[in-house]
Amino acid sequence: MPVLMDGERMSRTLTRIAHEIVERNRGVGDIALVGVRTRGVPMAKRLAVILREVTGHEVATGALDITLYRDDLMKAVVGPQPIVRRTEIPFSIDGRHIVLVDDVLYTGRTIRAALDALIDFGRPSTIQLVVMVDRGHRELPIKADYVGKNVPTSRRESVQVRLAEIDGVDEVLLDQSEGGPA
């Protein structure tokens, strides 16, 4: 499988995105990071570490499971239903700038579900979106505010972001073998 990004490139990309977050929000005062399960969660934690190094401030992080908000749940899906995991947002999101973090932006349906899920927890001042890879093919009017890498893909391909915390290695791969949806 072709490697789109290696570990070093991913690390530099997260550092760049952290700086963009600081620049755009003029600091990190009211910011909280919320990772979309599964791989958005370690990405959010890494961003929090970088933000602390850059600004000296702790940034709250949470984890969001969007399974119960999916729009394809009850369809006759191929393969198993996703396992529902806990959502952990141990802070108030009211009036804060919430930076949503996910690995791949594709149809936009995951983010639509994440927005619905997040708004059940309160009324954030803004919601911004970080993704490691934007692979196109949007089906909803959704766009990311911070993109690691834009990758033109065909629908038959799949983009796999691997993270050391979960997969033991940092890399982004392009799977051309008739993969399922990323």
Partner: protein, 317 residues
């Protein structure tokens, strides 16, 4: 791997007896996420939006029916309650005719409690909708066993290797049967104790220990589960008096002291205080009886979610 599951195999949840350990674990794991939903300021997720769930209760029930209804509403399902006293059943309609009429309204899931063992199996064969057994006669009450297991696992972090004592009316109890199936499948050591008149013949064949001495059952137990004396199902003289029953089998502080120091005391409700359990025990620090009620909602949400999402393959095949 065969010991993990990502879906339930059938469209129904009729009993623990025909479930695998992997399916039980899947429900318990899913219930953990569901419990978090109940702790939110907005206790509702859209997972079952547009799904219709019928609660068909042929027997009185407050806790179980309310628990299912809360679970359905938290998943955004549309719920209908059919209480039998106001239904056409009192006009002589059979269970199958009732089922066919309900089926014509195209529900997705029917939650049913019935006084006859096996009624839910009949319903499941008749209907395309998924059927959840909310208690059938003296047979099974699977969601109660699942919430009991969830409560034990929450406190003890495991089920395998634990000693669980179940004390009371073993004969009439569907909660007992479901719990025996579940706990033995998950590797717990089950001790059953009750008067010999209320102990079914041959239950030791289920792979459990059976005794009539409550002290033996409770000694060193990690969890003690009390069963209700079901006066409404007792026509004969199973024991001389409620007072004598309490003296011989009732859970008193002295008997609780025989269990492990961190043992938990459970009861599926409704309790007969002073019959199977002393008030000091029911309200004491080891009691998790109200946790069981709270966990019931989470476990039922998990069951409804998994049934509504799974089972499509078999229906198509």
């Amino acid at each position: 791997m065969s010991d993990t599951a990502t879906r339930l195999r059938g469209k129904d949840l009729l009993g623990i007896a025909d479930m695998t350990a992997a399916e039980i674990s899947l429900i318990l794991d899913t219930a953990e996420a569901m419990k978090e939903v109940s702790a939110r300021p907005i206790k509702k997720v859209p997972a079952l939006r547009g799904k219709t769930v019928i609660n068909l209760f042929y027997e009185p029930s407050t806790r179980t029916r309310t628990s299912f209804e809360v679970a359905e509403k938290r998943l955004s399902a549309d719920t209908l309650n059919i209480a039998i006293a106001q239904s056409s059943v009192v006009k002589g309609e059979t269970l199958i005719d009732t089922a066919l009429n309900l089926e014509a309204m195209n529900p997705d899931i029917i939650v049913c409690r019935h006084g006859s063992s096996g009624a839910n199996h009949l319903l499941a064969r008749t209907c395309k909708a998924g059927v959840v057994n909310a208690g059938d006669g003296m047979h099974e009450h699977p969601t109660q066993a699942l919430l009991d297991a969830f409560t034990i696992r929450e406190r003890k972090k495991r089920l395998a290797g634990l000693k669980v004592a179940i004390v009371g009316d073993l004969l009439h109890s569907r909660v007992f049967r479901s719990n025996v199936y579940l706990l033995t499948k998950m590797g717990a050591e089950v001790w059953a104790c009750g008067p010999s008149t209320l102990t079914p013949v041959g239950i030791a064949n289920l792979g459990i220990h059976v005794t009539t001495r409550v002290e033996e059952a409770v000694e060193g137990a990690d969890a003690v589960m009390m069963l209700r004396i079901q006066m409404e199902r007792m026509q004969g003289g199973y024991f001389p008096s409620l007072r004598e029953y309490f003296q011989v089998f009732g859970m008193t502080p002295a008997r609780v002291a025989l269990a492990k120091p961190d043992a938990i005391i459970m009861h599926p409700g409704p309790m007969n205080r002073g019959v199977e359990i002393a008030s000091e025990v029911a309200d004491g620090p080891a009691s998790v009886i109200l946790d069981q009620v709270a966990n019931g909602v989470a476990v039922r949400m998990a069951v409804l979610y998994l049934l509504a999402g799974g089972g499509e393959d078999e229906a198509a095949a």
